[in-house]
Symmetry: C2
Subunit: 305 residues, 2 copies
């Protein structure tokens, strides 16, 4: 089912994701008008300089007044306040979505703050880089990437199709999911890996200066991959761990048990336990490669080990 | 100082590293003769089929008889036995090196098993991929990668220059280091990251089947980077942890303390601690990028978060 074009889009927060969306919308002519709002005047000025929108607003309420589709691209910690600000100004039948990495909290906030005459469909495009801000975006960011849309709140087929087609037009593969399931899966695939990467890079940061310089020099042997992940936006990730606490602590507990198991094997000189573990872990990689969820650069030479 | 060419090279074990060296030696005409030995008849047959050497030997002793340079490319657990086997057959003035990821154990074994009339210079090219075996090698593997040579055993300048120039001719950047310092730095940059990656992928392997499929499907959000590291050769990595136990356990202890610190912050809802930590970790990445120790593909778009 196709749906008519969206005439007016409001982008609340113009960071990496929303600035990429603005570029995709303009490139593919997906909407006649884009209103951009950001509380950071530097980001707003930069968005205007790049020409990402048609209207630039300091106040979120101003940006949403004519919108058929509102996309909240602020850190998760700001979502509740944004929803409260825009709520009285939303048009009848407007679709309100977001791009945050945790979804139960957004479902809860939408249910609490949005009026009954709008469609709330929280979302999460699983795409990004370690760079942030309006200058870091690019139109192809969502190409062949998954975008999860959450079906907890909105049963309206027309609104669901409209948003699904919008993301497809931006290049994404749309998947519908319950918010709780999304948060559990992403705790494993994204939040725990980021926490681990932040930890190990922090551990290295505390080393004596000479040793730290050596670690940077020889980082190609594995450490480097973690530093890229650990260079992600601090505000965004603080909010992820604040809002997906239970799912993260649950998988972290399992990880800790497994790490202790391997630590004991190393201390005891238990070669068989290590060999078995290191053999088992190859299967998941084969699955990822066979599902074509790896990227070609994964196969190029690296500095490892 | 330049040194004369090496007339005869013996490659003991024809896996990823030594098969890449064989290709580089032939491509750049660095030696008139290469003798290849491997206890695995399949690998030896494949090496012969590819045409990596001039002579193929089941027995290590046979391969080294005429060698000016012997390069041991077996897993670390086999090094002591290889040294015992070849020791009585080595020519006067032969250089014996290796490519293992841990160096104190190799220094110890060389001191114990090699005769006084050869030059022992353990080494570690910091290069590799997650693929193994003679078919996985390529001549450019060492281009612009560090190769650490260990100065604990050999003070002979002529031998040191010969080996250094050999690695430079293969494209590597040579660094001389004490074995103990190498093992401490690599424990941080390589061994701990691999242990962590093996752990998290193992944790995911134990998930219920449905959830595991979802994790594979959405692996682009961070997890995927860990699966590539955790697909590395199990024998090699078992031996790394068996031989560099103390340095790995030391840095692992610090990592565990730091992870517990962040875990407590998540549980307590301590946003400031997380934000500070996630901000500090950006500096190391900037250093790596400014030292050009990142790879271009690091900067391309990824599926994160």
């Amino acid at each position: 089912m196709t749906t008519p074009p969206i005439n007016n889009i409001a982008l609340i927060g113009i960071g990496l994701i929303n600035s990429s969306l603005a570029r995709a919308v303009r490139l593919k002519n997906l909407s006649a008008h884009i209103a951009v709002a950001d509380i950071n005047p530097d980001h707003l000025a930069m968005a205007q300089q790049i020409g990402l929108g048609h209207k630039y607003c300091r106040r979120n309420a101003e940006a949403v007044a004519e919108a058929d589709l509102v996309i909240i691209g602020t850190p998760l910690g700001a979502t509740a306040q944004v929803l409260q600000e825009i709520s009285p100004h939303l048009k009848q039948g407007c679709i309100v979505t977001d791009v945050g990495s945790v979804k139960r909290c957004v479902v809860r906030d939408c249910a609490q703050f949005l009026p009954a005459h709008v469609f709330a469909i929280p979302g999460h495009p699983i795409a990004g880089t370690e760079h942030s801000g309006p200058a870091a975006g690019f139109a192809e960011l969502f190409q062949d990437r998954f975008c999860v849309l959450v079906n907890d709140l909105c049963a309206d087929e027309y609104a669901r199709n409209t948003l699904e087609n919008f993301w497809r037009a931006c290049g994404a593969i749309v998947e519908w999911m319950e918010a709780a399931h999304h948060d559990q899966v992403l705790a494993i695939t994204s939040h725990l890996p980021h926490l681990i990467a932040y930890t190990i890079v922090g551990t290295a940061t505390d080393l004596a200066k000479d040793l730290k310089q050596e670690v940077i020099r020889y980082s190609a042997s594995g450490f480097r991959d973690f530093t890229r992940i650990a260079a992600s936006d601090p505000t965004m990730w603080r909010d992820v761990f604040m809002t997906n606490r239970d799912a993260v602590l649950d998988i972290l507990q399992r990880f800790n048990e497994d790490l202790t198991h391997l630590q004991r094997a190393i201390r005891a000189g238990d070669a068989a336990t290590l060999f078995d573990w290191f053999t088992r872990t190859r299967d998941i990689r084969r699955n990822i490669v066979s599902l074509k969820q790896h990227v070609p650069e994964d196969q190029k030479k690296t500095g490892q080990p």
